[in-house]
């Protein structure tokens, strides 16, 4: 049952991340297939790298056709209804924050299940959350937004840490810890957007 629960969270995250990938693809004037590739990459690359690094081969998001189907539907939606999706910028940011939280906790949980230690599980939870966005931006030759955006990676780190520490230190049950970690990540990220929270920016010498 807890597996079903995690897979459902994962598929929801897949949809919202694919939306963000397709949006970037459309802005860079890729062709339809390029947009679908970017949807799939944004939705799955974090999890694929995580799976390669814990030895869970072949990766779940290649074996299970639902990831490809859902990311392609999101890509087609953005490709043919781009103006409508852009108008929904605020909802999209909210979905993206939700996807970040979902991937952080499902990624950390899968790493633990494959025998990773707590530090690896936290880092791979964060990577599951931010890796797709990094791949998306690298593929259009941009500096990944996650490296400069308000509390993005840190929110994923916090969500993954809640799940991993709750499991390791208190042997807590999976579902509430996953929900709590995802919610913490989601809230941190939304608060950062609304309130303009951010980390200090590097000031190179020429300033």
């Amino acid at each position: 049952m807890s597996t079903t629960f995690l897979v459902a969270l994962d598929l929801m995250g897949t949809f919202v991340f694919a939306i963000s990938g397709a949006t970037v693809g459309v802005r860079h004037r890729l062709d339809l297939f390029g947009v679908l590739v970017l949807s799939f990459a944004a939705a799955t690359c974090g999890g694929i790298v995580r799976d390669a690094l814990i030895g869970a081969t072949p990766p779940a998001s290649l074996e299970d056709w639902r990831y490809l189907l859902i990311s392609s539907l999101a890509g087609l939606l953005v490709f043919y209804r781009h103006a409508s999706v852009e108008r929904l910028r605020n909802p999209v940011q909210m979905f993206d924050a939700a996807g970040l939280g979902l991937f952080a906790v499902t990624g950390a949980s899968k790493a633990l299940a494959f025998g990773a230690g707590p530090l690896t599980a936290i880092l791979l939870g964060m990577l599951s959350g931010i890796g797709g966005g990094i791949a998306r931006d690298v593929l259009v030759a941009q500096i990944p937004a996650v490296l400069t955006r308000e509390l993005y990676a840190i929110a994923a780190l916090a969500g993954a840490a809640v799940l991993v520490l709750g499991r390791m230190l208190f042997d807590g049950p999976l579902a509430p810890l996953a929900a709590g970690g995802a919610l913490l990540c989601f809230s941190l990220r939304l608060a950062a957007i609304r309130l303009g929270w951010g980390l200090p920016i590097a000031r190179p010498p020429e300033d």
Copy 2:
């Protein structure tokens, strides 16, 4: 025997993809070693990522010295005879289309051999075909040509699908299916170049 056949196809694909990598390296004024790295990356990165994702470690193109030898020869040829190779642009496009078909079917076949399911095998066949070109372009900080170029990734997908579906649904023999898949990919790609076939391009709102 069918292994020898697949390896021979793979080495031919290695040569033509290394030519494309070296050509991009020369255009970006890399030094000799940088050109050789780009040759090797364009020729092998697709297969290396595929091998990492199916657990076939260490990857064949690192273990077998012929991949390095052939890609280096192609790189030296382009580095010292760049003008002649550029004059052969049409032949190079034809070789590239052939390499795409060869890698798509050998990649899909190897994924099947390591126990991947049909969807994974098709996707990894495509990735074997397009991954090297993606790595090549990311390494020179460009948007990968495969995301915008006429029917490139789709041709690889079709070639891989012929092999995988033929093997899974009809239990067909390897050599004719590989030849058929590679030929389909090659023909689709050449037709797309000659006839200017392409997919619709995304139109961002400011148009």
Copy 3:
């Protein structure tokens, strides 16, 4: 004991590579967390990819908290004391050359320990040395310096080759071979910087 020796070399390399990653991050005005991510990526991505390609999962630099701690300390140092670190440009280049040599020999040695053949071990030793710098530059959308910089990758290749050939052909002891390989790489790189040694640069036709 030889494991302790290799880990010590590896942690020293981690620190100097993290300095280079953080410096690039500061120059691109990332936020604090982005700078720490770039520190960690520059210090560990070469080794992480090597570990994925030899099946050593999960990668050592995720499991062992010292890599994260050391790279974060280097990142904080550069973030808050950037002017001082920039003034040390020459020492940083020297440390970077040392890190290159250290990672090349520890990477090759680990690949051998996981059953890789000699060619794979040499190539993965080189990749351990240069992979972090490639990841660092790709993440800020630049052509990797290693593809154009004086004798960078070749120095790493030479250092890894000393260790691998010494182990395979003469069954030599690990510590002196590692020291010799690292020293060769370090000296080649420093000599190349001081004397302006470089490989020929590609001349595209329009010259």
